[in-house]
Symmetry: C2
Subunit: 229 residues, 2 copies
DNA sequence: ATAATTAGTGTTTTTTTTACACTTTGTCAA
DNA sequence: TTGACAAAGTGTAAAAAAAACACTAATTAT
């Protein structure tokens, strides 16, 4: 294709902040860099946008390639354009964040000969480039969003207990919530459907399992309902 | 500078959705295109990111050049990367939105030999490229943001009446608000300082003027206060 | 059987939000 | 000068939402 516009063209990359929930703790998926610059340091998964590829597709591809992560919730976060973010030349990066059910992805994390590992999102190792800024912004965004949109469920397995759900909110928001008030509110949501199943897990009373019904949620939403937690 | 990375390089632009408030109505600033493609159609102000220029700076520059708009509130919105957004070649655009006090900018809007005009944000003319999508997203973002962060004040003159403030919220949110409840809440905010001045404006009782104290707001915010309307 | 551990459950108080109508202060015109 | 007009300004009561709070139930391991 001819270069119609004669202007400087910064390289364009995408980076992804992939969050997972391990027990009560929020984690991020990081990749060990095999090449300079920042060789040996940890970084967010990401890479160059290819010819004819939308930004969303670029992120999906990179996540599949570098981390074996596929078909997960993903949303654009922010575009980072500081002139010296990459020590070699100008690289503008469109950052995304993704929420995955860690149980499904923990084993497949390592692919592509690179080392990929989960780290505590709040206390990551030193990161390459401006990835610490990106991570911080993703954390802020997640915290801001989780209360107004039911995205948190993306971090849980399909079937989950109310205690798991509460722990999720507690760890993302960094607060502690009252169990009774939490359950009262959450059980008022029609899109949380109780299953005829329980989770036996240690020497104590088994917990009822629930499922998040996406379809019902969107239909309620169209009727003017709006989620808040 | 050597091209260290050998990858396709889409052209990179910035676009800005500039909102202003005219009477009770929310407006957008549009520019008539002088060149193909979409010659003669209305479009968002914007242009190419220059060598060594951050994204924020690029938007500021374009706004100053194309619309005489300077020193206003501005925030990154989203990055649009559809492959065919520009009919000629791939162009990725980082969109921003800005809030201006329309009274200060209405006259200077036309500069640079291009025609720049304010249009109702809710019912704009047909727009070039995917600018209608960008505008829609900016509207959604503004609506979402205005209740949690005191950004609305950016749309008002420095001194304003509570009725103006209420109208601002009514037109951005598209609802009507109860006067007494609105004033009760708003007057509880320490960062709204009443002036020893009134605004006489037609055959009726003059209204007291107020000012938004940015400094006080940020200091309150640090003490854990959080704005909500 | 009992000790240990997490699941599960309601009520009261406090706070926040909503609904609602008249008086005040100025201008303009008769 | 006075009366009509128009927007500014003001408080209370009812309803809804949020917060505080502690015990019983079900299971497993010893």
């Amino acid at each position: 294709m001819p270069r119609t516009y004669e202007y400087p063209r910064p390289a364009l990359t995408v980076d992804a902040v992939v969050f997972g929930l391990d027990g009560g703790e929020l984690k991020v998926l990081l990749i060990e860099r095999g090449l300079e610059p920042f060789k040996g340091q940890w970084a967010l998964p990401g890479g160059f946008v290819q010819e004819g590829e939308t930004l969303d597709r670029a992120v999906s591809r990179e996540l599949a390639e570098e981390a074996g992560v596929q078909g997960v919730f993903m949303e654009q976060l922010y575009t980072f354009g500081a002139v010296d973010r990459d020590p070699r030349e100008r690289v503008v990066s469109v950052a995304y964040y993704a929420l995955v059910n860690l149980a499904d992805h923990t084993t497949r994390a390592s692919t592509d000969a690179v080392d990929a590992r989960w780290f505590p999102a709040a206390t990551p190792p030193p990161l390459a480039f401006d990835h610490a800024d990106i991570l911080q912004m993703a954390l802020d965004r997640l915290r801001g969003k989780v209360r107004w949109q039911p995205v948190g469920f993306e971090l849980l397995p399909e079937k989950f207990t109310l205690t798991q759900l509460q722990q999720l909110y507690e760890s993302v928001l960094g607060t502690s919530l009252d169990k009774r008030n939490f359950r009262k509110k959450v059980l008022g949501f029609d899109f949380l459907v109780p299953l005829d199943e329980t989770r036996r897990d240690g020497p104590h009373r088994p917990a009822q399992l629930f499922r998040f019904d996406h379809g019902r949620y969107t239909s309620l939403q169209r009727k003017g309902f709006h989620f808040e937690l």
